[in-house]
Symmetry: none
Subunit: 254 residues, 2 copies
DNA sequence: ACGGATTTGTCCGTATGTATC
DNA sequence: TGATACATACGGACAAATCCG
């Protein structure tokens, strides 16, 4: 009886735990890891599984090993902490918009495929409230509600969880202010049209159209945000480009 | 009905005795059961009958088994930390693939825009290992490492966090088996080509191509998964039917 | 310079579940 | 049903490299 049957699932488990270990370790200089046998015991995996995980990390360049010397962390944080608080500290509005552009068009497409008449009614009710809102708070609130309703209608629980995670990060007060600045009066009219177009596409079950409208909408939002951030004074022309990305500007920190 | 009167088959007998065994010895947790060969003899049934009974108990969640390790009473130790467990219970492989198809092509595009030569080298190192892996565990491990390396290269910390969340859900043991079945030998060659094409596109900084190859790759994976789920019986000729892929276009370099 | 101790790298035997006949 | 081959996992044993006194 080799003790109790512990977890052994495989090397993926070992890899997961090793990543956590490396992330939690201080970014100090080339931290040495325990010997393989000790480490295997600590992580609750076999040495073979551990070694396979170490091979991956070595190929990724996060650790280096040498026979007779030991295993060392190459000190590369990479920061994967999934805590919401910490995540919202590390990310930025442009990253968030990249994610929204990636996810929400898909949500719109799925929503078009799946929406019941009741769902469409709900979307219309919410959209009506956006136009009726005269203050920033109201617009923010109802706009968020509309996007979330689309996400719910899509009916994919995993995507909805991801959407909620992003939504919570968006709540940050500093960003709300930024968004309201980007929501100038003339743009508000465009947004309203886009929302109407989106709902119309969902109502007609035109999946492709719904996806396209949502993408165009979010790309406009992103570009507006970018414009506000880069040239706060002038607001003359907002280049609505539907091509996927404006490369150089969108790269954050160089 | 050969002999024995009451019992329709001896699997039921084995099941009864196994249940009694599990009930009578409910000590701590993760109790290890004797090897199948021994257990069959102890219970006075054939190994095949015993295994069918064990299948039932595993489906009920009362035991878990793992090749090379043994059979254990209790629930399978899962490593998913921090609330993901709940999510992984509610979602399903097809939802996960929807999310991956939504996110990873974008990651590939961003990776192409941002990759340094060192990043490309790292991707190539990892990809080489996939082909060199002869066993299922190795392929799974290195395939996951490649997709994660692309996600890291994209340089969007929020997207990376989302990717990690999905990746952890993917670790679920039941799904891994499913994926390996979908990774039949003939498909492995296609995947290898697609991985090569992806890296070539990233190396050439062809953002659009990288995005397209990644989408085609994931759509093929999704369709293979679907095929395995819907027609489990026939493995003889696996029709690689899919509207998504056009192999000729996938050859980039070489 | 030497030798023992420690650590990674490698191989192999055994034990176990899985699949096939 | 029973038997056989196969795949996987773990641990021990040993070699190679390094470190240290």
């Amino acid at each position: 009886m080799p003790a109790a049957g512990h977890r052994s699932d495989s090397s993926s488990l070992a890899l997961d735990r090793l990543r956590a270990l490396l992330d939690s370790a201080p970014p100090g200089t080339d931290q040495r890891l325990p010997p393989e046998r000790t480490l295997a015991e600590d992580l609750g995996v076999g040495r073979r599984a551990l070694r396979r995980a170490l091979e991956v990390l070595e190929a990724e360049g996060r650790i280096w090993r040498h026979q007779g010397k030991g295993t060392f962390a190459g000190s590369r944080p990479v920061a994967t902490g999934s805590g919401l608080q910490e995540l919202s500290r590390r990310t930025n509005p442009l990253e968030v918009m990249e994610v929204r552009v990636a996810i929400e068009p898909v949500l719109a497409r799925l929503a078009a495929l799946r929406a019941s008449n009741g769902d469409v009614e709900r979307l219309q009710r919410i959209a009506a409230r956006i136009g009726a809102s005269s203050d920033a708070d109201g617009r923010e609130l109802w706009d968020g509600a509309l996007h979330r309703a689309v996400a719910e209608t899509a009916g994919n629980s995993l995507l909805l969880a991801i959407f909620d995670m992003i939504d919570r990060i968006r709540q940050d007060a500093a960003w709300r202010n930024l968004r309201e600045r980007a929501r100038s009066r003339e743009r508000r009219g465009i947004y309203l049209d886009q929302h109407r177009g989106l709902i119309a596409a969902i109502e007609a079950r035109e999946a492709h159209a719904a996806e396209r409208v949502m993408r165009e909408h979010l790309e406009l939002v992103r570009n507006s945000l970018l414009a506000v951030m880069t040239e706060p004074a002038t607001e003359a022309h907002a280049p609505v480009q539907d091509e996927a990305v404006a490369p150089a500007e969108l790269r954050y920190g160089t």
